[in-house]
Amino acid sequence: MIRALLLRLSHMLLVLLGIVFLSFVMMDFAPGDFLSQMALNPQISPRVIASLKEQYGLGLPFFTQFVHWMRALLHGNLGYSFSYHVPVSDLIAQRVPMTLLLTVTAVLVSWGAALPLAVFGARREGGLFDRTLLSFSYLSISVPSFFLALLGLLLAEKTGWFPIGGARSALSSGAGSGERLLDLVRHLLLPSLTLALGSFGVLYRLMRSSVLEVLSQPFMTAARGLGLRERVIFWRYLFRNAVNPLVTLFGMELGGLLSGAAFTEMIFGWPGMGRLMLHAVMTRDLYLVMGGVLMGAVLLLLGNLLADMMLYLLDPRVRERT
């Protein structure tokens, strides 16, 4: 087990290096750089652009730039953002908690709702509850998240029940911490529900079909025939087998925690990573983009590792093979 884990970790490092290198190459291949936006500004001469280019180190050959960046990275330094003139790590550290608050809430809601409902629905396959939820999950899959977000905003504007965007009201500094928390929750509600609704459909359908499949397995009939208690049948035979394919999906979800909410963040004005990264990509803020890519890649790899470890614990067949 330990050896397998170490092997996996070393593979992950290689994959990470590959991702980072390829992203760097792609940023270099795309035409222009951070300063290109200035090229068509009549008030900024090519001479000034050239001197800025030198200051930012953008004039160096591609490989030198990459080696410099990697060397700094090994010292834990992600470099400086061109547009903000502050360390990339500061900017990312500022935004990560807000994004995680949003995405983790959404994941908890969607998984927390979809799994039990799917088990419930599948056991009464074809019933009114099952059909209603199935139609609802169709809707949730087919409506794009940005549209749902806009509908959410419209709802907020019509009813006045929810704040329209942002993550905080302009509370006077005298507000107590309880009041602040309530305010944050009120702001969190719509964006996290929008995100949760988007993945609810997929999860519901996957889990439902997985439960149905397990229900039709001979070992279920055997378990019933042996007179096992319903609770044992459920947890040991049904849930454990049915959740298996979703564990891998869970790993992917972890990978999307930082980047998956960009649209929702934009529309609701949520101060998270998605917005920061989108802007960084658009302005070609090289090191900020690379910092974001690195964080996303690490999270994706860790997510997959975690998923595999969970499979290892859940599924004896996997354990046998390693």
Partner: protein, 577 residues
Amino acid sequence: MGPRLILMVLLLLVPACSRGGAGGTDRVFSLVPRPSPLHGRLTFDILSDPKTFNPALAQETTSTQVLGYLFRGLTRVSPYDGQIKPDLAEGWKIDASGMRVTFTLEKGVRWSDGTPLTARDVVFTFNRIYYNPAVAAAVRDILMVDGKPFTVRAIDDRTVIFETAKPFAPLLEELGVEILPEHLLSKAVDAGRFNTTWSVRTPPSGIVGTGPFLLKRYVPGQYLLLVRNPLYTPPRGLKQPIPADLPYLDRVFLRIIPNQNSELLRFLAGKSDLIGVSPSQVPVLTDAAASRAFRLLVRGPSQTETFLTFNENLKAPIPSYKVTWFRSRRFRQAIAYAIDRNALINVIYNGLGAPIPGPVSPANKIFFDPAVHRYHHDPDRSRTLLAEDGFVRKKGRLYDASGHRVTILLMTNTESPERISMAQMIQAMLAPLGIRVRVVPLQFNMLSTMVLSSHQWEMLLFGLTGTLDPHGNATVWRSSGFLHLWNPGEKSPSTPWEAQVDRLFDQGVATFDVGRRKKIYDQWQEIATREVPMVDLVSPDAITAVRETLGGIHPTPLGGVIPHISLVTQKARLVIR
């Protein structure tokens, strides 16, 4: 069951949407007058975070907008008529040579930390910051004459002398750049840390300026709170409608909302006091104005303009017969006559815009020349001009004298959907002449590489940021200018009219008298509209929606929504039931 349910959900949504973004009439907005219009609050949304609180490093509009409330320069441009007015300087004297300007600083101005502003700060700002090669200041160029910095020195605490290598008329406008405090920044400059000083991570109390407001709090991605600067000394000649200390407002609250739809919804719900409106949003807002207690102010044509230009570069890697068409004045005029500007305005700007006849926008009250030639839509004239130039039409297709079919690639940038639709309309407008246009939208960086480096383009639809002083156009119109788009970096003017434009710009930059300057730049505008190397098209109206709670709002095309933020008041409170 499935489809029926979806239908039901959709039906539920329809009434909510069909009432339009303007919202229902379910909530009532009313105004309750405040006892005094002073000490109020102004709230509006901005699209992105400021990138820095260091005025010397600020490059994009969000940062410069916020910093404009915190810092001031020696001079300012009057938002009403474009005249240069005193700001931190109480006045100036230009000597007979035009190469030396002596500024006297306003008496009693203090930095927001209480330290008096002196001539030393001005000298420091220019010599140690703007002219410091280690500082990433993009503004450096406009503070130079022929690549040479101004000589800046202090005579006493309140007197600064600026000397230029040549007479330089735009000097007064350029000296609107922010002045920075020596006592707080000299250490950072000495240590080579200036480029990371006053960043968005700096505690707000550390940002010290002379503007009407102070930064009180900044929460990244969420909001900025500005509070009144009690030490603010208003500039000379500012008319105060209420005899009280400026600024009248106590707080300015800027919320960062990265999406225009959300901004609009927030404004409609009464969460912000004003919002810039695009012409396409006007119908929705007009209906809601009365019930939601705001009015729409149309400020006239904005400084944003769009033009068409042609590749006249003989060395460009495109077929040389095409360059020959583009170098013909008659051909360019024919294109200019073929374009129906009113149709562009109606379709793209909902009828809210104006044709732009020449390189200076009619919004520029001082330098716009009303006598320039205007190209009204006249396809017959286009046909005559093309025929005179040897073009022939066969079966609805246009051929040049040597038998080449007239087909043109029209490039524009993908970032602007308005420009893409405009390009498509131009394609349709040139079709009746027998000209086949292919529209090629390219990503900005790609486009700028093709136009500036590889020169592989034929016709371009684009816009450039205008400046009030016509000299700001020198980089585009001088034949040697780096943005002389149609034929970049000419060693010597390739046509007699380009040579004349060069002479006019040389004269204009050296003439201080506004009347004489205007005559010089009038000649340039007349040449520009006769030769049309750039076919100027249209500009959308600048429109703002303003809540009725605010006072002291006098939007002008030049000064934006709020010409003087220190004069804004809050007359009433908004109550929503």
